[in-house]
Point group: D2
């Protein structure tokens, strides 16, 4: 017997939201590049045509020479069929449509509340959660029934509440939430090493070692190192140097030409205020702080050098992907194999016992994050091995940060209960306490009601 | 041997802040009314003349017939002398003078930040804490050295941080913090029984049973009963009935004629929002919520029918007490024996093993309040017996309230560390995160600096 | 409205094991003596005739003048009928018959294992638990279905595992376990006050204040006081004085004439070894320690001056009660009203909100007992009020005692799982680790198998 | 800048017990084989000549070609000098001499108590701890004063109490305890793969992935895998196959020819009883169980196929090493470079940030081991990176094992307190509760006193 035993064939992946464009194609590329695993991917989507198109695209590359991981793709008409015999369940869905997203992000602007992303916290994140939780509650029930031993990997936002709902409804579930926001901060640290020390070609994921602590999109790093170099003192210098003007990753072009980017001024400001490195993009971070800090009005936002991501632009991008999808199905355009930088494959390999590793994941707190409620979903490092995800003890956030993190942790617990019990008033208690909702409760109630109306197709309340 | 053994003579009380007017006289009255204890009270005050005046006043009643508890009063010139051989240490001081208090309460108004009390949280509470913590750190050191086995009963605000500092500096201390704010809510419940059920003469402390949970001035009641009647449903009706107009305790006169009172509209609003009874006065409660809720501006305050307590009025009141003090010393005015309704005597009796009882106290969390950091000072019921204060497990606040409570818990931890390490920047992290500080961090920094300047005599920072 | 509201009529008590003789009659006496409550008691027993006899006996006193609490008694043929509309459920049953008890207690003697009681731990307690757990699991299911809001008061042994099973099967249950063993130690302390200080007529339950910590029949007291007197130093003297000869409560007659009594030598020895007061009878305490300490052989037992309670004697006593029962039903003998000293009535009054109080109860650990697993059933003080049992934080046992307590805590957890999953091997892991099982595992297995055979009617295992 | 930065020169190692023979030479070999680190090793030993001999031996290899890691060795006359500027402190001492060890191991045999090793638990481990704790308390004080930021790596037994003492005395210490017993079980699993599956050349440390849980020498594995193969079911078969006859690792020769080995019958028996893999050698495991299980008498020991390691043999071995030492110093014998298989080097590299890894270590419990007291020193996996040791959450031992583990955890806490406060009676409470002390307390006291007398040079008690 030899090395070969560390190979798994006949694997079964259920992909919920399998009609997604872009994201699904990335997964196909990643699977194709990995020689140790093969099997079938069952694509399930409420838009079945999209799932079928993706199956066609996925199968089109099977015979290519450069494809090392051989996977068959099949669009299935029901969740049950997708889940049947699954080893892994990947969930990446859009809860609701762009219409609801538009309301989430832009309606609050009428009340003076600006949101840069609107999918995690703030009024938009809140209402998106109310829409998503019932879907995830149903998913959890199905997984319990049809695939209780499968590993579930979630990519949908709001990440924390998606994973939290899965565990609430099916406590025995084996689910983790994965997000690349921390990677972005590791990239920034790699850039810093080049900028400040002239060190080139740092591999940000494998060579920048970080201790991650917090909740998704509001994670913090209190220890970071690169080959024995402590990066915290260097970051302090880096933050000082670029605090006023911001830092541009020049290879991306100017930050203001890309609504997903920023000049990291919030990164630097938070470090100077709190002494630990905020580990998500500025656009996400801004939404976790009181509204009058970074998102007071358009001038403030411009001054802090980050963008509001308009939903129009997402719609436009979606349309382009749809057109591309048609070309890929017909063969008019060849599928471009290209690794995404996501870690889905590495995670699967670890859970299969092929190669253990340590990475950051979103799972319920068992004590890995000190002074945060047990059971709340937190993001820290974990050690992944055969059929096992064991958190690494991350320690405790400094009190000045924990105050803000726990505010959200308990708001999220409230939102969860409100969504599961359809208690509109309870939901409002969390809404009014959100840091972006910097208006009197009476006005906040008015906004809340309008937003709920706009999402009632997905989350009908009282 | 008989009942007599449940009597303690030769007790030794150290009274820190023993020159206080009004409050000290209340204690004298209460001690005089209790037959089971006697001994000496050593008065220590930085204003030694005031302590001496109080000693004279206290001793003047010794021989009166109606005095059942015989106590000698002695003004001592040093803390050490006060603490020597103490069985109990009572602390009730004014940290700083009215000048600092004026800045605490009124300077933030220039930035649009209104405070109804300004001694617990908000900019005023914060800066008052920075002034108080060093004093309490020193007290703790002295107690450790001179009276490590004495029971310390604190009445000074900010209560939470006073008690927290004592335990931080001397973890072996036996200290509790006592506050009558919960009594006020029990009174309101007694009034409610009269109003809604026609039940008269309810003894609010002994007959209204409540489960107390939270931090001082921000406590909550999730269970309340009177002789088997569950008071929560009744309170729901009561809140509905008086929500719009407010409720007036008629025997006190109209609320707006007394800057320490309110029409309980915030009580009712919080109940309707959160489903549990807020157990402090409206003036205190308002300061724990985001500034744009109840304290946005003078119109909002008036609409919610409570008052800002102006420091001018405190100064005026202080002057009147000073004049009265002179008359009491000379005998021009006779000392009026009158029980205060405070529980100091009952607490002493319980700790002496004379009579056990359950009451609400402020002590470090050992688990009595769920999902609040261990070690943080919380207010719940406790069972007091011989030389022992054992918390009663209070359970957990609902998440919608816990979100707000923990925001303050961690702010207070930050303030503590900032004060003990004299870290001005760290202190600002808590300041900027205070719910009343609803302005951009840059402005907040400006306000913070001015306020620190105004208190620098007591708390010199960087 | 007046005091009268603190009265509850039309109460509904389900009495499971309602055919018991002796114990049921005591409850009837206690109920009859209490003026604030009245209603109906539904007696359910697998021996229905016994329940009917007890109903007749209970109803026979209804019209007596000295009866202040008016209760009707009704024998019901099914558990469902007993539970219907119950406010309280009292459980006091004999799991199995005297035949099984005989095997529990005396069969291990063939292997050199002696047991003084055999109903809690040791081989006898273990096998009794295996018999009892399935019964309690079924009870819990019925209570969940028919009376989920009723308060359950358990008196059956093994107490810990009875209460633990109820919560395991129905986590939402409101159950407490009550036991008078601690009362016995309080009586001993009262005797001590007379003996050592000449203080007469001490009320052991209301005047001897104790902090209770541990698991049922293996509880400890680290603080005890009487009217301000610390009883620990006095107990040290008392133990020294009577260590060698033992202490006889003379009003009971010589200890060796009563197989339920002892000369307290184990009480004194444990105090001298561990520094805290063991708060159960010597017969119970001996069984929690390694077998070679107090129960090595009959000589050792005699030297420690306590008895093994033979089951023959229990059978004989049972027969006498049966004859008395017949006389009480026919009226040949008049029912003798006499308070038992148990606290059932006081507990009911507290839970009805009539009169709050602090007493020791057996409930799952929420942190009231430090360094014992959360969820394990522990015995500490609790504060009982309207519909609420809140543990008082008891602190932590000294490590030298906690080592022994936790050994049993985890054994009990193992027994619970073994019984619920019918896993004979798992059960043996706990059996072999019991401190009384001081024989090689191979022999222990032999004994275990024989004992299980003897109880298979009630607990059939693989 | 390049790879080179992951190299550390000028490191400073303090080696306490640096005169040790054998163990020190192994470290020299390991250091010499590692190219990324170099510096100085300061050898401190109460036997200074031995330290000087070792310095000479260590320096003798400096110029050899095959030596990749260049280290200078210096014998220093005081602890202070050793600790000055230390980056790492390695502790490997013999507490007391062979005379004390002889008493520890063999004196209890006079009372019918047999010990296979006698250095961890049992009477021998207990008394060895009493001797060791004062030494470690003093070490901790010195480290606090002279090298508070150094990493301390302990190899001395009793491991748990050594590390526990360091943290008790200097809570800020950065210490870990390292032991190779788990490696042995991984080797057994590698052998199993060959035996049962024909898989050769398995790297036991890097390829056998295990989840470690417990306390040193009493650790357990509930998950084990090799390249995706779950090893637990295979171990069940393996245990069944070899349960009766035992398993011989043939390359070692027959077990009974080596007093450090066994035929793994206890390994198999514990697995069959408890369902998890015991992860230490049989000789250690036997001592944690009740004495009447495996160590009842010499016949029982022989039947279970393991050995008592006689101290005579250790003395003999020591003498041989002393002679070898002389030859190495004079150059009569050449130093043989040979890797030990210990992980000291890998641990140092990880703590320097050169290469992160996951390994099992002994550190205070922060929650990594469920339902074991926080602060107790436990052995689980941890993730080691730059200046950081973060436990991996190991989960919870099954209750049937936790009962035994916690018995020792609290005994160890008692021993610690007894040793630090020199409380002979308190120490006896733990002694009498040790599972090997299966005699009546009176006899146990006699043995305890004799053993303490024999060690009084190192641990003088009242």
């Amino acid at each position: 017997m030899t090395e070969q035993q560390a190979v798994r064939t006949n694997l079964n992946i259920a992909y919920i939201g399998g009609g997604s464009r872009g994201w699904a194609w990335g997964l196909m590329s990643d699977l194709a590049s990995e020689p140790t695993m093969s099997g079938i991917v069952k694509l399930y989507d409420i838009n079945q045509q999209a799932a079928e198109d993706n199956a066609a695209i996925g199968n089109s590359i099977y015979d290519r020479d450069e494809v090392k991981g051989k996977w068959k793709y099949e669009a299935v008409p029901s969740l049950e069929q997708a889940l049947q015999d699954a080893d892994f369940i990947i969930i990446s869905i859009l809860p609701g449509s762009f219409a609801e997203m538009y309301s989430d992000v832009h309606l609050p602007e009428e009340y003076g509340i600006y949101q840069s992303v609107g999918d995690t916290v703030g009024p938009g994140g809140h209402v998106r959660a109310l829409r998503t939780i019932p879907i995830y509650a149903e998913l959890a029930e199905h997984i319990k029934q049809h695939a209780p031993h499968a590993w579930v990997i979630n990519f949908t936002n709001p990440m924390t509440l998606c994973v939290r709902t899965l565990y609430e409804v099916f406590p025995g579930i084996k689910a983790i939430g994965c997000c690349h926001e921390v990677f972005g901060t590791q990239k920034l640290l790699a850039q810093m090493l080049k900028e400040m020390k002239g060190i080139e070609d740092v591999q940000h994921r494998t060579e920048i070692n970080v201790n991650v602590m917090g909740i998704n999109h509001f994670t913090w790093i209190d220890k970071a190192s690169y080959k024995g170099i402590d990066l915290l003192p260097l970051y302090a210098e880096f933050a000082d140097k670029y605090y006023r003007e911001g830092y541009e990753e020049h290879h991306y072009g100017p930050w203001h030409e890309n609504v997903f980017r920023s000049a990291h001024r919030i990164h630097f400001d938070l470090f100077k205020k709190f002494g630990v490195i905020a580990a998500a993009g500025d656009r996400h971070l801004a939404e976790f702080m009181p509204g009058y800090w970074y998102l007071k009005d358009r001038e403030t936002i411009a001054r802090w050098k980050f963008s509001i991501t308009p939903v129009d632009l997402r719609i436009e991008k979606g349309e382009k992907l749809f057109q591309q999808s048609k070309r890929l199905v017909t063969g008019e355009e060849a599928f471009n194999l290209k690794k995404t930088g996501e870690e889905t494959i590495a995670i699967m390999k670890a859970l299969l016992g092929i190669k253990e590793f340590v990475t950051n994941v979103n799972i319920p707190n068992q004590g890995q994050l000190g002074n945060v409620k047990h059971g709340a979903v937190v993001e820290t490092n974990a050690y992944l091995s055969l059929n096992s995800v064991r958190p690494v003890m991350a320690g405790e956030l400094p009190s000045q940060v924990n105050s803000m993190v726990n505010r959200h942790v308990y708001n999220q617990e409230t939102i969860l209960r409100a969504a599961l019990t359809k208690d509109r008033e309870l939901g409002f208690a969390a809404f009014a306490n959100d840091p972006l909702v910097t208006i009197a409760p009476e006005q906040a109630k008015d906004l809340y009601n309008k937003m709920l109306d706009n999402t009632k197709k997905y989350a009908p309340y009282g």
